[in-house]
């Protein structure tokens, strides 16, 4: 645990509200290399509050990389330069004394900025509400072991289900596409036997909602996979594409 502090220049996006023009503010501070980047922002905010200045609005909650609340674009990369971690797990020892760090919010039409580094990701919830579930009522279910599921399928479904809904895939994609997020949920249920009855209805409904909400299309740059804190594979997108075609070809539904 090093005693030495890093002297850094921060360029942080400040924007008073959704309809305000934002710009970068510059701050200089010294930070312990053992701090996380969010703890550094806590420090900064404490200093600002001491000077009666408004602190930088940013969101975080669990600070252990699972709740998906935090999400900053650090030097152009969602969740910063280290792969497979969320912003809260990025520690300052990965930076050098004298560095300048640019911190921006996630940018996408479907994720409007609320204030400073806070964005509105409720579009994700709207997508989930259209089909991200299996329709079973409480109580009316068979025994947990009634349907055996192969270990491989269960693990693959788990890999898809591990998505934390942070939105880094959208932030990283040059098209601000939500395909990785949506496909992870579609895949989880498409893989499991429990998800089969609603499989085709689900994928159509969720894709339709995704398109309505103003996300871009996927152009297979795979930036989403590279920036995903949980390493969710673009194979999920392929699976969703396949299911979408099959839904269109196989079902008689002409509405969705």
């Amino acid at each position: 645990m090093a005693e030495k502090k890093l002297n850094l220049t921060l360029k942080i996006w400040r924007q008073a509200g959704p309809n305000f023009v934002g710009n970068f503010a510059e701050y200089k501070l010294a930070v312990s290399p053992d701090s996380s980047i969010l703890e550094m922002l806590d420090d900064l905010n404490n200093d600002l509050e001491n000077k009666n200045l408004e602190p930088v609005a940013f969101e975080s909650d669990c600070r252990e990389g699972i709740c998906g609340t935090c999400g900053l674009v650090i030097n152009g990369q969602p969740h910063g330069p280290i792969p497979k971690i969320a912003t809260c797990q990025l520690h300052m020892r990965h930076f050098n004394d004298g560095d300048t760090i640019w911190i921006e919010p996630f940018r996408a039409k479907a994720f409007p900025i609320i204030k400073d580094l806070m964005v509105d990701r409720s579009a994700f919830d709207r997508i989930q509400e259209t089909g991200g579930f299996i329709s079973v009522n409480t109580g009316s279910v068979p025994d947990g072991n009634a349907i055996p599921i192969s270990k491989d399928i269960a693990s693959e479904a788990m890999d898809s289900a591990t998505c934390i809904g942070c939105g880094a895939c959208v932030a990283a994609c040059k098209n601000a596409s939500a395909m990785l997020f949506v496909s992870a949920k579609v895949s989880q249920f498409a893989l499991l036997p429990q998800g089969q009855p609603e499989r085709y209805q689900r994928v159509q409904a969720m894709v339709k909602k995704m398109d309505e909400l103003g996300f871009g299309s996927c152009s297979n740059t795979y930036a989403c996979e590279a920036e995903c804190p949980k390493g969710i594979s673009v194979k999920n997108i392929a699976r969703m594409n396949r299911d979408y075609f099959m839904a269109k070809v196989k079902t008689e539904n002409v509405e969705s």
Binding site: G216, K235, D243, E255
Partner: protein
């Protein structure tokens, strides 16, 4: 058929159209290249091949019409996607870190595609128009000489080679991307598809670009 239209105009549908038309164009390029490579057989072989195509002209015209349609779909859809995708992020990042998370060829399809498109227009004017619309040498079935003459021009050949390299970028991403869009991404086969795409791309780029190089450096014939 409203469902089909809405399916194809969804985000996944548009990608599907890109992939299908892209695969068609990939196949077309193979035939085109085989045709071009006959040049290494000398003027006589090449001229005979082109001349023979003349005999089945009605069929060629139909194929050409289909090709144009495919091109139009590919380009129209591509531009539309590009425009819509731009709109999905109205304000961009100040610091762009995309070089750290994605391949440049995948991010620049619109650029490589546009340049290849401009090249295509020039290319059609230089060859297709000359071959079909009353070039004096074409009347005499001296197609080989038209090519040799065009490639003796350093600027034209240079542009051609550059265009082929960009086509290579476009193909390298496009090939595997089409399979991903179709949903054929699998731990076993996808690495193979990626390699296949690279090999295909290299063959295309080297094959097409070798011809101007041949004419510039190794063709001693007098035009």
């Amino acid at each position: 058929m409203g469902w089909l239209y809405s399916a194809l105009s969804s985000s996944i549908g548009k990608k599907f159209v890109m992939a299908v038309t892209g695969i068609c164009l990939i196949l077309f390029l193979i035939i085109h290249l085989i045709n071009n490579l006959t040049m290494y057989g000398g003027p006589e072989l090449f001229n005979t091949v082109v001349k023979n195509l003349d005999i089945i002209k009605p069929i060629v015209r139909v194929i050409e019409a289909v090709l144009v349609l495919i091109f139009v779909f590919h380009i129209f859809n591509g531009v539309k996607l590009w425009y819509e995708n731009k709109k999905a992020r109205p304000i961009g990042y100040t610091v762009n870190g995309s070089s750290k998370n994605s391949d440049i060829t995948s991010r620049t399809m619109i650029v490589s595609g546009s340049i290849v498109f401009i090249f295509l227009i020039i290319h059609l004017k230089t060859f297709w128009v000359s071959f079909n619309l009353g070039h004096p040498l074409a009347e005499e079935h001296q197609y080989y000489e038209i090519v040799a003459s065009a490639f003796s021009n350093w600027i034209y050949s240079g542009l051609y080679i550059v265009a082929m390299v960009l086509l290579g970028f476009h193909l390298n991403h496009g090939f595997q991307s089409a399979f991903q869009t179709f949903g054929w991404n699998n731990n076993k086969y996808f690495p193979l598809i990626k390699k296949l795409g690279l090999i295909y791309t290299l063959i295309m780029v080297i094959g097409f670009a070798s011809i101007p190089i041949y004419f510039l450096f190794f063709y001693g014939g007098n035009v």
